[in-house]
Amino acid sequence: MNIELIIGILNIVLISTTPLVFAGIGELVTEKSGVLNLGLEGLMLVGAVTGFITLVLTGNYFYSLFFSIISGVILSGIFAFLVLNLMTNQIATGLALTIFGIGLSAMLGKKFAGTPIDGLNPYYFIVISFLLVFLVGYFLSKTKSGLIVRAVGENHNSAYALGYNVIKIRYLTIIFGGVMSSLAGYYISICYAPMWQEGMTAGRGWIALALVVFATWKPWRLLVGAYIFGGVAIMQMNLQAIGVKLPGQFFNMMPYIATLIVLVFISSNKVRLKLSAPSCLNIPYEKNS
């Protein structure tokens, strides 16, 4: 192994992991406020396709980024309306969002599949992803607003009693999560690929979801976890190239198994669970009760 090869591998890890950081950090904030959004995969795909279509039609990167973000705002806004105002089951609503997003993105993108575009330089987004993790970490632990978000996620009834508008705060965190997922999708179709293909996010939404749990809802650990997950995926390809006889599937299932182990570890102890997971996660908030 020479130094150039190592730098080459690190470079690939850096480029391929960034969508996980975006989607993961968004979902982390959503979950910190007590809402579990299983719709990441759908949000990412729609974000990817709207950005791509706008770029093909207008040739303008700014517009394409803008419309990608708007798609995230609209879709996560619908999710927020359902789970917050209509108090629907978060799991079912999130799954509906994923299924809907997979279908919608495939339909919209049909005419544009295979159209060549000039990709954006991924390094801007990589820098932004690091900054975002830093900002979210700072926001959640050091600012008053971050404290309020966490309070809403820990005990929405107390937060309401203290005079905070639980629904409004959750709207904001859900939409933040949605926009981050769209950005992850945008990055995949505009910087990483760069192209559009049906279902091109390839399950990254679910890995991002696992990542938040793996990181025990802490931004810095999320960044480290993302690079571990991303690194394992790249390592698998390289090990196979060298001729290591371990089946690639075992590397691919590593993120999920690691998340399971972390989940068991934090859940088996009540104190540990309280310190890691937001207590009101996936519990609907009803004002009347």
Binding site: L36, L38, G42, I78, L82, L86, M87, T88, N89, I91, A92, T93, L95, A96, L97, T98, I99, F100, G101, I102, G103, L104, S105, A106, M107, K110, E198, G203, W206, L209, A210, V213, P247, Q249, F250, N252, M253, Y256, I257, T259, L260, L263, V264, S267, S268, K270, L273, A277, N282, N288
Partner: protein, 353 residues
């Protein structure tokens, strides 16, 4: 002028709205669906004909409808046990895959068998495989207090990679030109079809039997009563002395076994061998089926037929309207959105003044 919308918790519980809301959701889906067709420059009426009528206009189509509805109904019936108990097993896709691996593995192990016992053995192992995969989240939930939503979801992906490993590695067909698929099962391991030349198989009978058993369990047995109570309040059920942890176990095992059964039926029925994509998301779609059927066994049969139609319609739409078959997912997503939304009216009264 300002409209103020006020909501109030219903004190009475309306059965009518409860069973009417799936119909409202379907109607709303069709309404919004027609907009989607309009955006795509297609006539909504023509498109709906192709989407919902042409797939079932001949005997082959009707057979295909049952082929698609069977796994959905079986999985959703199993899931209804979990959902009634307020346990969110969303890993049916993984349990289905495990069932296919276990049952299909038996078929590959005895690939020169002509015994009449081969198929029953495969069916048994299919159910065991699914149940086994479902016991993992059940154990983690009861012993370590782990969130079953996340664990069952993670295990789904683990199961998919295990299947991938087998069909790429040890079980790959040596005569398969290196394609990631297994050898075909022997004839003794294939599910009998009901009519010659059509793909609809005896899995339909299983779905109907499971439906009736489920109806009896829910309405006539103590177990069904315990499920209802603990679904409404796990505290009340514990106070009444029901062993809540056992209930979690039983419901997981039942739903896992059903999903495993459905997986085995898929591979030993229409497919006939093991390969990567044995299920077009049946395990996740069955969650929609269960909700749309209101966790009622007969409702689930009806909703499984409706959702199966979205699969078929999507295939026809791809063929004749040149739109991706993923349009079926759009309809499935929409119907679930609207169903969940209309449930609000079931719980609350809405006033506008």
């Amino acid at each position: 002028m300002v409209f103020l919308i006020r909501v109030q918790l219903r004190e009475d519980y309306s059965n009518l709205i409860f069973y009417l809301s799936p119909l409202v959701a379907v109607a709303l889906t069709l309404f919004f669906g027609s907009f989607i067709f309009l955006i795509l420059d297609l006539s909504p009426i023509e498109s709906f004909k192709i989407f919902f009528m042409s797939p079932i206009s001949n005997s082959y189509g009707i057979s295909e409808l049952f082929v698609k509805a069977t796994p959905l109904a079986i999985i959703a019936l199993g899931l209804s046990y979990c959902f009634k108990n307020n346990i969110y097993n969303i890993g049916a896709e993984g349990q289905l895959t495990m069932g296919a691996i276990f049952g299909g593995g038996i078929g590959l192990l005895f690939n020169d068998s002509t015994s009449v016992f081969l198929l029953p053995l495969m069916i048994l192992f299919g159910a065991i495989g699914g149940a086994f995969w479902a016991t993992i989240p059940a154990i983690l939930k009861t012993k370590f207090n782990t969130n079953e939503i996340l664990t069952s979801l993670m295990l789904t992906y683990v199961a998919l990679f295990i299947l991938d490993y087998f069909v790429v590695g040890p079980w790959k067909d040596p005569a398969g030109y290196g394609l990631p698929k297994s050898m075909p099962f022997p004839d003794a391991g294939r599910l009998p079809v009901l009519f010659d030349g059509l793909r609809v198989h005896i899995g339909v009978y299983f779905a109907i039997i499971i439906c009736f058993i489920t109806y009896i369990v829910y309405n006539k047995t103590l177990f069904g009563f315990k499920l209802k109570v603990s679904g409404l309040s796990s505290k009340a059920s514990q106070y009444a002395g029901f062993k809540y942890k056992n209930l979690i176990f039983y419901t997981f095992i039942i739903s896992g076994a059903c999903a495993g059964l459905a997986g085995l039926f898929e591979v030993s029925g229409p497919i006939g061998l093991l390969y990567r994509d044995i299920s077009p998301n049946y395990g996740f779609t069955a969650i929609i089926v269960a909700f749309l059927g209101r966790l009622n066994p007969f409702g689930i049969i009806l909703s499984s037929l409706l959702i199966a139609l979205t699969y078929l319609g999507a295939e026809d739409a791809q063929l004749f309207l040149k739109i991706p078959s993923a349009v079926g997912f759009v309809f499935q997503g929409l119907v679930l959105f609207f169903l969940l939304g209309t449930d609000f009216l079931n719980k609350y009264r809405v006033f506008i003044k």
